[in-house]
Structure formats: C-alpha cells, structure tokens
Symmetry: C2
Subunit: 148 residues, 2 copies
Amino acid sequence: MFSDEYFMQQALALAQIAFEENEIPVGAVVVYENQIIGKGYNQTIKTNDPTAHAEMLAITAASNFIGSRYLNQCTLYVTLEPCPMCAGACFWAMFKEIVFGANDLKNGFSKLALSEKKIFHPKTKIKQGILAEECKKLMQDFFKKLRN
Amino acid sequence: MFSDEYFMQQALALAQIAFEENEIPVGAVVVYENQIIGKGYNQTIKTNDPTAHAEMLAITAASNFIGSRYLNQCTLYVTLEPCPMCAGACFWAMFKEIVFGANDLKNGFSKLALSEKKIFHPKTKIKQGILAEECKKLMQDFFKKLRN
C-alpha cells in the first residue's frame, strides 16, 4: 500500500485543491515511517507570498511536527520538479529522499544546469517521474483553463 | 540619511537579536520608498523550521504589507550573502535591488558557482560589501561564543 505512487497520489490530491483555488497546481507531502506528517499546496496568489510553494509549506509543517529542523528520516513527495528556492530549502532540511512527478524545465532547479548533488544535500536520494503523466496533465489543464 | 549603510544598520540590529537568541546572526529588511516594510532575523532553531531565514521572513512580511507577491519596487538589505533558498525566493519576488553585507563562501548562493543573473531575477541589481566588516564580525563573535 505505502508505495511511491500512493504518496504521490496524496500530493496530487493537494495539487487538485490548488487547481480549484486558481493557483498553479502543485502539491507536496512529507512522509516519516509511512505516515504523512506535513502537507502543502501552492498558494502564492491567495496569500500574496512568493515563498508559499507547496514544498515550503510541507517542510514547515513537518519540521514543526517532528520538532527538528532536520528531516533526514523523511521523504518529500512533490508533483512538480522543485524550483531553486524549494531545492535550497530541501538542502537545509537534509531529506533522506525526494520524489517528484513532472519535470519543470522552465522554473525547476534543473534550469540552473547543476548536478543534483550540488543543490540538494549530497546524502539526499532523488527520484523522478512518479505519476509524471498525471502531474503534468494537471498543469496542462490549469494553463488551458487560464487561457479560456 | 536613507543610505545603504543606514538600512544595513537596521538589518544588523535584527541580526543582533538573532545573536542574543543563540541563532546564527543574520538580519534583513525590505525597503520601499525609503520605508522599511518587512523585517526578519534568522530563527531556524527556535521555530524548528529550516525555512525561517531572515530574508524569507522579511519577504513574507513585505509581500503581505504590499499586497502583492512581487517586490519589484523594493530593495532587500541582508547582512549575509543569501543562500540558494533565499536567492530563489528573491527570484520569485523580483526585487529591484538586493544589497548584502558579508560574503558566505560556505553556504551562500555563490557556492553554486553560478552567475548572479542565473539565480536572481535578471532585472535585479546586486550590490555587496555594505558594512561587510561589521556583518562579518557579528558572525565571528557568534561562532566564538558557540565554541566557549
């Protein structure tokens, strides 16, 4: 039951809330011992806050739950490739693992053309492409809705 | 009166609060039309939150004040070179200008060995070295205190 796909589905459900609130649909969950301990979805428009990305909110929530600023026993699931801000936050949190869905060639960390090991913590394992099609489709549907 | 040194002094006063609270002493202010509209000092330990850097808190406060997630009419003053997370947040905020004090070769954005234009918004002007000695001395005093 507790597969990468299961937890990415939970992140997708949060992205769907962002979609309905007319925010770019990205969702994230932080998992510790198969339990979700932090959730977030993008809400930069509603909150007037450029830092209110899904990952940032999930990290703050999870750190608060754990009672530590280090999440080195945790995995972050996020529907979209993290941007440099979120990748930098993941560095400080020292995640055990980061799993993301769709690529983001325009605004993801990969736009910096750095090796993953340079922006994330060198001990953090990075996995990508989990439910990538579903994550990408939600983004495409959002931008289609915006244009209409 | 409203010089770079004046506003950096305000950021330093915030860094001093962090110092007294046993947090790495970094302070930041966001300035709009010579008025401070957002303040922050590092408080990652007290809040158990790896995202609670001085710049992040100052950006959230300023955006909330302005009522927009874009701070393109604002200048950020920060006592230490921003880390990649904070530089990424500055990208999204699209600051008019960023002024920092001391360099941070270990954890600052420059560790990524990127041009400033690649991690900050290309329209953002970057200025460094304002009150650098004072900013650096506060950091050195902090680590000396930690060791004793």
